[in-house]
Each structure stands twice: as C-alpha cells, then as structure tokens.
C-alpha cells in the first residue's frame, strides 16, 4: 500500500515534467503560427505578446507578392515524385536483401550502410557536376533523382522485409508462383505498413532538405517553399512577421500530412525497427 502511494506522487511529478517538456516542444511551432499574424513591432516586443491581440494579414500579403504558391506546388511535386520512386525502388531492393541469398549480398549491404554514414556535403560538388552534365540542373529532377539514390529507403525496407515469413515464400515457390507474382501477392501486402512509413518519411525529409535544393535550384519560379522561406529571411531580415508567415506556410502542410497519416507512419516505423 505504502509503495503504491509513493509511486502516485512520483507519477504526478513525472506528469508535470512531461507537460513542461511538451510545452517546450510545442512552443516553436506555436510561435511560428501566431507570429505569422503579428505586426513587425509586436514580434520583437518584450514582454512577449503570447497571443496576437491585433491579428494582421499583412505578412501574408507581403509573402504573396512572391510566387509562394508556385513554391508550394514545386515542393509538393518534388516530394511526391521522390516518394513514389523511392518506395517502388526500395521495396524491391529491400526485399531481396532481406530474403534472398545471393553473391555479393554482404558487400553490397555494407556499401549501402557506409554511404549513409558519408555526409552529403562530400558528394555535393561531384553531384553538381553530374547533374549539370546531364542537363537537369535547375529543374526538379536535379533534386528528385539524387534523392532516389540515397540508400536510407533500401535500409529501412530491408528491415521491414525481415518480417516476411520464409515459409510463405517457399510455399509460393512450390505452387509455381513466379518471382514477380510472389513479390506482388505475398511480399507487398506484408510490407505495406512499412511502405507507408517510408513514404511519409521520404516526403518529410525531402520537404525539409534545404541544402540540396539550395545548390540545385536557381530560378526564382523553380524554388521550393523551404528554400523560398530561407531566401525571404534575407530580404526581410528585420521583419520577423513575414519570416514567420513563410515558415508557417512551409510547415503547416507537412504537419498536416503527418497528422493525417500518423497511424500508418507509427505502425510502419515500429514494424521496421522493433520487429515485434
């Protein structure tokens, strides 16, 4: 009895700590959202105005003088295409890496893992040479194609594919099912949640991958929303409000995507790493 009561107090204290931590985590996002509706003077005021008392749409008007909607569309396009290619390509590769025994397997997998450890900045200059050689510089493909080669998706899908029961695959083989049919009818249904996780993961990462976009895209009309917001930071260096409006515009769609699909995401991501 005594012990139960003790943990009760501990529980309350822990709960308070949890709420304080939650507050710290929510705060930046909250501040971006509310800051978007504050005037320039209010954003830097001390003590801070915790909620916009005189909300203004000014920041969005200023933002809209830039091709912000075009940027938003560019981001969506780049992320969606990258996501589709990465999912298709990685699920095939991940499946054979996990479930087949073939020559060069271990070596290949080690190369993939080493590539993940290598910082992207090291391959940036050679990559740019390549991209300009192919003539896709300053187009969405300059972002999409290199990201499709990044082995993280393969790594993740290999983890997911470990869950496929080997007996099922063998049974299919005895039934005379071809490799492609086995992949479509047995493998895909099992790794589907992982597929969802990879899709959302790729989408979020591509959305926020600012460095790659910075060096690959030049024309103002071709920028992505994250990159556009970063350039606004320069132009409106003194106007926090506009920066916040831009940041909100970049963050809200992606947060929405996460909220809507979060169950797929958590289910999938868990399956890969936890292997329950």
């Amino acid at each position: 009895m005594n012990m139960k009561k003790k943990t009760g107090i501990l529980d309350i204290l822990s709960m308070i700590l949890l709420l304080i931590l939650s507050f710290i985590f929510i705060f930046p996002f909250y501040w971006i959202l509310t800051g978007a509706f504050k005037s320039q003077k209010v954003t830097v005021k001390l003590p801070p105005e915790w909620f916009p008392l005189n909300p203004t749409m000014d920041n969005f008007h200023k933002l809209m003088q830039n091709p912000a909607l075009q940027w938003l569309w560019n981001s969506v396009f780049i992320c969606a295409v990258t996501m589709l290619i990465v999912c298709a390509v990685s699920s095939m590769a991940g499946y054979v890496l996990a479930k087949k025994r073939f020559y060069g397997q271990a070596t290949l997998f080690s190369i993939f893992v080493f590539a993940m450890a290598l910082p992207k900045q090291v391959i940036l200059v050679p990559l740019m040479k390549l991209v300009s050689f192919m003539g896709i510089h300053d187009t969405p493909w300059a972002i999409i194609l290199p990201l499709c080669g990044w082995p993280f998706g393969v790594f993740l899908m290999k983890q997911f594919s470990e869950n496929i029961p080997t007996e099922l695959l063998e049974a299919a083989k005895i039934d005379g099912s071809g490799e492609i049919r086995t992949f479509g009818s047995i493998v895909m249904p099992i790794v589907k949640p992982g597929f969802g996780a990879l899709a959302i993961f790729t989408f979020i990462n591509t959305w926020n991958d600012y460095f790659m976009q910075l060096v690959m895209l030049n024309s103002r009309a071709k920028l992505t929303i994250s990159l556009g917001v970063a350039t606004l930071q320069q132009e409106f260096s003194t106007n926090y409000g506009v920066i916040m409006a831009g940041a909100a515009m970049a963050a809200v769609p992606i947060v929405a995507v996460f909220l809507i699909f979060q169950n797929y995401f958590t289910q999938g991501i868990t399956m890969g790493a936890v292997k329950g």
């Binding site: 040479k129 300009s132 003539g135 030049n218």
Partner: protein
C-alpha cells in the same frame, strides 16, 4: 567460390563506376572547352524555350544580390526585371535570364556552381569575392571596357585598383561606391547628454578620446553600446575599420603584401575594446552578425552601431522612423581625428563560360547597366551610393546627408580586399575577435596569431 564471385561482382561494380567517374572528371576538368559543353548541355535542356548560343539570339544569365533597392514591398528582382526588359528592347538579339540570390546562401551557391560549370554569365557583387574568382582564373578580362576616357572619368586610383587582379588586368566593372561608417542615435545621445562628444559639422570627424567619453556617458545613462559583432561573416569590414581607426593601425601595409594589424595601435585598440566590453560600455557580440547589430540599433536596443552606410540608411529608414530614432552617420573615431575608411564598391564581373558570344553579350549588358544615359544614373541611385564616374555628377543634389557621405571619399584607405587569400583570411577574423572578447587569449596573442595565419593564407593562395 562464393567469395571469389562476390569479389568479382563488387570489382565489376567498382570498375564500371570508376570508368564513369573518369568520364565525369574529364568532362568537368579545367579545360574551358569541356565546361562549355557542359553548360551548353545545361542550357539546351533548360526548357525555357530560348535557343542556345548557336542561334541568332544569345542568352545570358544574370545573378543579382539584393543590392538594388526595390520599391516598397516589392519582392526581390522586380527592379532588375525592369532593367532587363529595357535592355532587351534595345538589344533584341540578347536575352537576359535574371536569377536573384541572397547574401546568406548566395556565396556558397556561386562556389558550387563554378565547380559544376553552371555558374551565371554576369554577377553583380563586390571586389572581395569577384577578385578571388579572378585570381582563380574563372573570369573574363574586362580591360577593353576600361578606356582611357573611362579611367580619366573615374580618376580614383584606389578604386580602380580594387577592380584589378594581381595580373594587372581588370575583372570588375564598378558602378557605385561609398565609405563604410558608423551611426549613433540622436535620441540616446541627447538623453545621455552626450551630444557634445560628437562632431556634427563638416566631415564630422572625431577622436577616440571623444568616443570613449561618449561611451561612458551613454553607459551612465543606462544605454547599451553597440555590440562588437563577430559572428557569421557579413559586415566584417565595418568592425575591422573600427578597430584599425581607434589607434591608427592598418590591416595591411601600404603595398598590400602583408598583414600588419599586430602593430602597437592594433594591439592597443583590441585591448581597449576588451576593456570597454568588460566595463559594459559595449556589448560582447559573439552571438551577433553585422546585420543583427544593425537590427539592434534600429530597434533602439543599442545606442550606436559600427556598421553603417548610405545603403543601410535607406534600407532601414522605415524602421528608424517607426521607432522614432534619428540616426546620425559618423566616420570612425581615430586618435588624431583623421579617419581611414574602408569602402564598398558595387560592380559586375563576367564568368568565363567558354563562349565568346556570351562574353561579348555580357559586356554589352554591363555597359548598359552602368553607362546607359537613362538607366546608368537610375541604377546608381538604386544602390543608394555614389557613381564611380564623375561625369554623372551629383545625383543626390540638395540632400545634405548624402553630401556628407560623398565627402568621405577623401578618407579612403588602401583597398586590401583584392589581396591573395582574402577569403581564407576572413575566416580567421571573427574567431580572433571572439577569442579576445571571451578572454581565451590576450589581445596581443590573438592578433599575432591572426596575422601569422593571415600571412600564411597569402602564401597558401600562391
């Protein structure tokens, strides 16, 4: 068996990629022919619909930092687009593709693009970066644009030298110039009863002793001094000029062949600054970059700033008015009251993309930007500073404040931004200040260390 096969497969993989790699290296090697091929390929796939350089029309790309002021609330590039339209009407055989870049990420972008062969034709920037591109052989010589008549018109050797690389050729075509200076808030000074410390007459020159007195009065009245900003990279020339002027030191010798900041005056200035920061007269700016120091000043949080120029004055005019602050621009204080000022030069360069037609078109465009009867002066005014060509005359007639800035030209110091290894030296400057301000090393040790590293950077760049 298994091992051999897997080894064989990996080897095959490596060989194919290495072969591909070799091809890639070749195509991007330093020969201009290859890089021309690369950029031509990039061009033709651009999807912009414009014919590549082989046709009758030439397409050139212009990268512009936000140096031209925009009309209120207009996004970056609006004014530049007007210039392009006017130029294309006059030169229907040249198409200009405008791309705006910003000071935060722009330099990185140029670096990467130069390596990849996707860099623009025309760049609007300043000598610091432009001459380092020239020293690395990336630019087209502009000697034919510097006619005798033009040189006579400019009539300023320091300024002309800033456009030259060490091979004696011109690589930057200047359009406008102004001195960097500092600014104080009239409201703060009046409240602190410190107006008598500054000089508002003539060239407004003043001494280090007067400056120190102002610091004390401001501090007594509860005002914050400027931050000794030393984070990021922008605006480093402002704080450098502040340091050198205090006790008559120089960043480099007169021949611009060696760094000399570790002379008696330089050490004394840094020691003094450290004292002021410790006493609370000025703020340790290890967390601020130049732009943020200006932000604090225009917001009224600090009573003065060591980074100011006519361009900044016009950019921040609105905020100053909102916060009811009047900024008084001043040259940097010096021991004898005669300042030696650093200055900005805005100008254009042409990247060598291996295509003579594009280079010619680019020069034509630059000539239009700087010398067109209608657009030349208009463009100068958009930079908020002064024309390099004297025949353009007084573009700000009747503006007393601009007259003051114009008069500072006579205090120009030797221009060292064209020194070899300048880019590397800049990366040592702020860490040196941070070391002094945070007490990591004595001012003397820090500046000696800085000078030896900076001198090494000259050698490294040979």
């Amino acid at each position: 068996m298994k091992k051999i096969l897997s080894l064989g497969l990996t080897a095959a993989l490596l060989v194919t990629t290495l072969a591909g790699c070799g091809g890639g290296e070749q195509s991007s090697s330093e020969t201009t022919a290859a890089s021309a091929g690369t950029s031509a390929a990039a061009e033709s796939n651009d999807g912009a619909g414009a014919p590549a350089s082989s046709g009758d029309t030439v397409e050139i790309t212009w990268w512009a930092f936000p140096t031209f002021a925009q009309d209120a609330d207009q996004p970056a590039g609006t004014y530049e687009a007007e210039i392009v339209a006017a130029f294309e009407t006059k030169n229907p055989d040249i198409k200009v593709k405008l791309e705006t870049i910003d000071f935060t990420s722009g330099p990185e972008k140029i670096t990467a693009a130069i390596e990849a062969g996707t860099v623009c034709d025309v760049l609007f920037d300043a000598p610091g970066r432009i001459i380092s591109y020239a020293q690395n052989g990336k630019l087209v010589k502009l000697d034919d644009m510097f006619t005798d008549e033009y040189i006579k018109d400019v009539d300023n050797e320091a300024l002309l030298n800033s456009c030259k690389s060490d091979d004696g050729s011109y690589y930057m075509y200047p359009i406008s110039t102004a001195a960097f200076c500092m600014a104080v808030s009239r409201q703060a000074l009046e409240a602190a009863d410190a107006m008598d410390c500054i000089n508002t007459e003539g060239d407004r020159t003043w001494t280090t002793a007067q400056f120190e007195e102002m610091l004390k009065k401001l501090s007594d009245a509860g005002f914050n001094g400027a931050t000794v900003y030393c984070s990021g990279q922008g605006g480093d020339q402002g704080i450098r000029a502040f340091v050198t002027n205090l006790y008559d030191s120089q960043v480099t010798n007169d021949e611009v062949t060696e760094y000399t900041l570790n002379d008696e005056g330089g050490i004394k200035a840094l020691t003094k600054i450290k004292e002021w920061v410790d006493a609370g007269y000025m703020l340790n700016g290890s967390a601020y970059n130049g732009g943020e120091d200006v932000d604090q000043f225009v917001a009224g949080n600090t009573a003065f700033t060591t980074l100011w120029s006519p361009g900044l004055a016009s950019q921040r005019a609105e905020t100053l008015k909102e916060n009811e602050i009047e900024a008084i621009a001043l040259p940097f204080p010096s021991e004898d009251g005669t300042p030696e000022l650093e200055y900005l030069v805005n100008g254009f360069c042409v990247f060598d993309n291996g295509d003579a037609a594009r280079a010619e078109a680019s020069k034509k465009f630059i000539d239009f930007l700087c010398n067109d009867e209608e657009w030349g002066p208009k463009n100068v005014v958009r930079t908020s500073v002064f024309p390099v060509r004297q025949t353009m005359g007084d573009l700000y007639s009747g503006d007393a404040e601009m007259q003051f800035y114009a008069n500072l030209t006579k205090y120009y110091s030797p221009y060292y931004n064209t020194i070899k290894g300048f880019a590397e030296m800049r990366t040592y400057w702020f860490p040196m200040l941070q070391a002094v301000l945070n007490g990591d090393s004595t001012p003397e040790d820090a500046v000696n260390d800085f000078v030896s590293k900076a001198n090494q950077s000259i050698a490294n760049a040979q």
